[in-house]
Amino acid sequence: MTTEVRVGGVGMTPFESDSGRSLTNLAATAAERALDDAAVDLNDVDALHFGNALAEALDESAGLANALAAALGLDGASADRIENTSATGASAFHRGVDRIERGEADAALVVGAEKMSAGDTRSVTEAISRLVHRREYAQGITLPSFGGLAAGAYLDRHDAPREALAAVAAKNHANAVDNPVAQFRKSIDVEDALDSPVVAAPLRLYDCCPMSDGAAAVVLTRAGDADADAATADTGHPPAPRVAGVASATGTHAVAERPDPLSIDSVRTAGERVFDRAGIRPDDVDVACIHDAFTVLELIELEELGFYDAGTAWEATLDGDTALDGDLPVNPGGGLKARGHPLGATGLSQIVELVWQLRGDLPAGRRVDGAETAFAINVAGFGNNSVCTVLRA
């Protein structure tokens, strides 16, 4: 019989442009909030997985998992650090789920954190530009470069108006206004997005996620574990959401080698795998967190994952289908665009948001009423690796 993994508790710090706190401090704060939320004693944690992408590149520190274990006072647990660029958080979550499914841990603390303010804009841009293929790097190509090329191709092929991209930004900003952990709690309209400075044509500033500090954490437990069940009962929450599936896939590293610039194999493959493992179809999903590092990515991923047919996600967005009160609410917490994108924490912040939604923790205006099945995708680079998760209430 397959071991059932539950998300016993979640916690995170606000995402900010400059937290003024150390990386370890951010991580430990999120971890303690998740432990409190799960009502799990630190002494019962036997696995710690710490996701961080840029610490070395920004000359922060190394040995991160050990430093975090020491800060928390966690002795005797197995601990490691996970890195998968922008998908670091989801990969750390994947590792924690695996450990419990294999019976190697009873309670896993999974933490993701990033302190991008540790470097100035130039050094962070340089660090992120190193994520591409070295022959792309030689051309000065960055992740926004890929976003600009894909956005231009998407608008051309599907005869979509530029407003379709701006509508993604406006929607995600609107969702972040009442989210206390979001970096940008500011409403914008389509015109604001269309008037913002060009970053990589046709993408503008409001089409792009920010650089962020922040941390997110979850406590994973094994369903049927007496201690964990007792702890869940103590929290007063509804039953802890179940991890119905986690799956990942690599894809083409050099973006230009993709036969179709609007096709991201890693997204499609990871999606097919997770839907298969969870035994559901895209139609079954009630709420989704989609990796919108650039607005066009939200549209492409929704289509690659089968939520919409190719070339139709932009119309669905303009029609309000992906709004908080639409048929498929997408990025109800603001997404990377407005909640923020501290690389190592983002994938876990998606899980935190979905757990809040499934437990019904959120107030009206933030809540997707009646959500029972939730989906997340966290993407590395511009799609050379993707991690998908399905949670069920």
Binding site: G140, T142, L149, V199, A200
Partner: protein, 146 residues
């Protein structure tokens, strides 16, 4: 560091077994092989071309360590962008084009921002693509079809 008096060195390999030179993986040479922007790899066995270095031919699997290279002639633009926010050592704005040269697709710097999807392009000129790089490479320019 390996202790010459130790029977088993720190790297775990038996001390009495020296790898013959012929056994050294020639593929490791690939890591340092950097081609000009207008050249692609070509498999000497099956003729498959590719642009982004990889250790083996994607079709037949032959090692690419000693693969021949070929100069790319003309291609077709599939998408373009002009990047205003660039890394510290890259020109701003940076005009880029995704272009297809037969079976090879690549993203490269364009000489200017006038290219559009469907244009025919070739590589031309000699430019330092990033400040501090010693080498120079050509950029994409439009081919006059008239």
């Amino acid at each position: 560091m390996t202790d010459p008096d130790s029977e088993v060195p720190e790297n775990g390999a038996p001390a009495d077994r020296d790898l013959p030179a012929d056994d050294l993986p020639a593929d490791d040479l690939l890591a340092d092989r950097e081609l000009p922007a207008d050249r692609a790899f070509v498999c000497d066995d099956c003729g498959r071309r590719w642009y982004y270095d990889r250790r083996r031919c994607p079709d037949c699997g032959r090692s690419s360590a000693d693969a021949s290279t070929v100069r790319l002639e003309t291609g077709a633009v599939m998408a373009t962008t002009t990047v205003e926010t660039t890394p510290p050592d890259v020109r701003a704005p940076n005009h880029l084009a995704l272009a297809r040269f037969d079976e090879v697709q690549l993203i490269a710097q364009a000489a200017d921002g006038d290219l559009a999807p469907g244009d025919t392009v070739r590589f031309d000129g000699s430019h330092r693509l990033r400040d501090g790089r010693e080498r120079t490479d050509p950029r994409l320019v439009a081919v006059d079809d008239s």
